[in-house]
Subunit: 194 residues, 2 copies
DNA sequence: CATATTTTGGACTGATCGATACAAAACTGG
DNA sequence: CCAGTTTTGTATCGATCAGTCCAAAATATG
């Protein structure tokens, strides 16, 4: 029909996501977004409407990648408890590799709380998906006898989710691998069958 | 000597702290700081030099209040494990009362990571003081037989610190009391003597 | 009461904010 | 190769950013 875009939309969102990840929403200017994506202002506003909308897209992109990666990761393990062990150690590995980037969702929760309804909806959706996934792992673990059956799967899921957030925060403030591993080890034992 | 200040410096810092707490550093304009404190621009810049400097003062104020309150709180309990139980339930109570404000230090870690050296120094100092406090509680609990002696006190401290951060994040994203209590209960059992 | 010192209010700075206007450029379908 | 459509670069918008300037106001000291 007309002139085609000279850039890959997905790739641009990925770059924008990285920028927001490092400096937050308010801390990332539209100019910085142009530089990060390599696009001009026109291209950005033409395809993403506004800074806020681009942030939503970045958040969606992040959440999607995350839940997909975690779903795949958790399927690799045999027993329920191993899934959680893997989740934590994978989180730590990621953080050590990326030198403490932390988590975009955690950062966004900290920056906005529940002030912005559109953002809150994204956070809630992502949290819900993770809790569902983790609860099903917990249920499995209770069936295979590796996870404490005295707890509600939903509670175990909340605990694990909170632990991952805690690890990502530790990492972002510069904690070392040893400290994170100690936390993870206590967390794993906390939900293991007695 | 000369004209005296018409305001209480501490009170002003407290108001500024509240503003930063809600909207973060980048999200709080100097204009908003004027409105929050009730001061004019001149008074703010005359006494606090810059937005950044005022933020440092606010962070110091927050950290000081926090460590004092927590030290006092932990002294109220009898046994080691009770201290941790109290710490968690007090955190939850605070969050429920304040309708999910979260924690300024957690928010600041999320917003800055370790990009700003002055901020990082504050975060490190506050983290260090909390870890020291928590580790001594853990040691005590090991002596009185209420806390798992197989763990290093420092590791238990990191775990508890991370748990509190996790709870504050949960609260900020809007989690309910029940979910937070479930997490806290698992965390307490995780470090209790077996 | 006069002088020195400080605070205060308000106007103002250049820079940057997010967003828009517009025309040249680049493509597709006919 | 032309008409129609979209993207792109550039210039620019008004608003707001953090921070400064300065004169009026308010106090302490002599």
């Amino acid at each position: 029909m007309a002139r085609p875009k000279e850039f890959d939309e997905r790739a641009a969102i990925g770059r924008a996501m990285d920028a927001f990840w490092v400096r937050g929403y308010e801390g990332t200017s539209t100019q910085a977004l142009c530089e990060a994506t390599g696009l001009g202002r026109s291209s950005i506003y033409n395809t993403f409407t506004s800074k806020h909308e681009l942030f939503m897209r970045a958040l969606d992109h992040y959440a999607e990648r995350g839940i997909v990666a975690r779903t795949a990761l958790l399927e690799e393990s045999e027993t329920g408890i191993e899934r959680f062990r893997t989740l934590f150690s994978y989180t730590i590995e990621e953080e050590v590799e990326h030198h403490g980037r932390g988590c975009l969702v955690v950062n966004t929760v900290a920056e906005f709380g529940d002030r912005d309804p559109e953002i809150k909806a994204r956070i809630d959706a992502d949290t819900g998906r993770h809790l569902t996934l983790l609860a099903s792992c917990a249920r499995e673990g209770q069936l295979d006898g590796t996870i404490d059956s005295a707890r509600e799967p939903g509670d175990i899921a909340e605990f694990a989710h909170s632990t991952v957030a805690g690890l990502r925060l530790m990492s972002r403030r510069g904690a070392g691998r040893a400290a994170m591993e100690a936390v993870a080890d206590i967390a794993v034992n906390a939900i293991a069958a007695k």
